[in-house]
């Protein structure tokens, strides 16, 4: 796991927790992220960094789905909360 993916995971978790709060939920059980093939992000690296970064957060144990898409986007599409 590199610092690069760790930083992106922290951005992901920050965004996710902001929207969790807004939704009135207490826990995130799943997230779907669109990863553009030109985003400069290696999906495997993000996938392996995520569980460690998510420990002790509201997204601990959540399932991360990385959807490869064309283009440059790197976007938290949706999540499931309870």
């Amino acid at each position: 796991m590199t610092v690069h993916e760790t930083k992106l995971c922290l951005s992901l978790l920050a965004l996710a927790s902001e929207h969790l709060e807004r939704s009135g939920g207490s826990r995130i059980v799943a997230l779907r992220v669109r990863v553009g093939e030109l985003s400069g992000v290696v999906p495997e690296a993000l996938a392996s960094a995520f569980p460690i970064c998510a420990e002790r957060t509201a997204a601990a144990g959540a399932e991360l789905t990385l959807e490869p898409v064309p283009g440059r986007e790197l976007e938290l599409q949706e999540m499931e909360v309870i």
Binding site: T2, V3, H4, K7, L8, S11, L12, A14, L15, A16, H19, L20, S23, G25, R27, V29, A30, L31, R32, V33, E37, L38, S39, G40, V41, A62, E63, T65, R72, E73, L74, E75, L76, Q77, E78, M79, E80, V81, I82
Partner: protein
């Protein structure tokens, strides 16, 4: 529809974690992970533009010739080097900062440690150490890396990506992301072309897959070949 418990509508894309005590709710977010960096980069750009400073980013693999290009550019600019400032990003050492300082440019070194790219936040902090009075151009030399700097704008107005002929002409095809956001492809170390199998057209074609209208030029920091075209792209004049 979830294959485990049968919840959800058939055909509806469904993430499969459920807490069966409580029904999970879907929350649509649709926001970029790069938002924070993009916001900082735009703010930085504005701040620099308000002072009449253009910021030029240099990106390329380790040893592609970024610092050598700065040295050649500063030599060509003559006394105008006094209006050039550089943010140098490296994992370790201040070697590059010393090199551009020796040319007469102002410099701030960012030592990134294990971080493989600069980002807008790091550049903001670097500028705290840099006196920008009288500066007309700020150079941002990213950490030597052809992959990781791609999605992280650093406040630059324009970004040039270097590929040296010794790296091989297939690099843009292999590492397309950084070319999608580039404003110029610089093929560097042109003096070494006779010694390597490097097809300029193939390199250009690869980069233009990522960005079809990408401008390109080839140069040698060693011999000075192509430096005039580079200065023209910059909008700078040889002294």
């Amino acid at each position: 529809m979830c294959g485990t418990c049968g919840c959800g509508q058939p055909g509806e894309p469904r993430l499969h974690h459920h807490d069966h005590e409580v029904e999970a709710r879907r929350v649509v977010v649709e926001r970029s992970l790069l938002e924070d960096n993009d916001r900082r980069s735009e703010a930085l750009k504005k701040r620099l533009a308000a002072r009449g400073i253009e910021a030029v980013g240099l990106v390329g693999g380790p040893g592609a010739g970024k610092t050598a290009l700065l040295e050649a550019t500063f030599a060509a600019l003559g006394p105008a080097v006094a209006g050039q400032a550089v943010v140098e990003g490296d994992c370790a050492t201040d070697h590059d900062a010393r090199r551009v300082e020796a040319c007469g440019a102002r410099v701030a070194q960012v030592v990134t440690g294990s971080l493989c790219h600069l980002d807008a936040h790091l550049v903001e902090h670097a500028l705290e150490d840099l006196d920008l009075d009288g500066v007309e151009r700020l150079w941002i030399e990213n950490v030597g890396n052809l992959v990781c700097p791609a999605p992280f704008a650093c406040g630059e107005t324009r970004r040039a990506v270097l590929v040296s002929v010794t790296e091989g002409d297939d690099k843009p095809e292999k590492y397309p992301a950084v070319f999608a956001d580039a404003d110029l492809l610089v093929v560097s170390k042109l003096d070494l072309l006779p010694h390597v199998d490097f097809d300029l057209e193939r390199c250009l074609a690869g980069a233009r897959r990522a960005r079809p209208d990408l401008p390109a030029l080839a140069l040698s920091a060693r011999t000075g070949e192509g430096i005039d075209a580079w200065l023209a792209w910059l909008g700078a004049e040889r002294s």
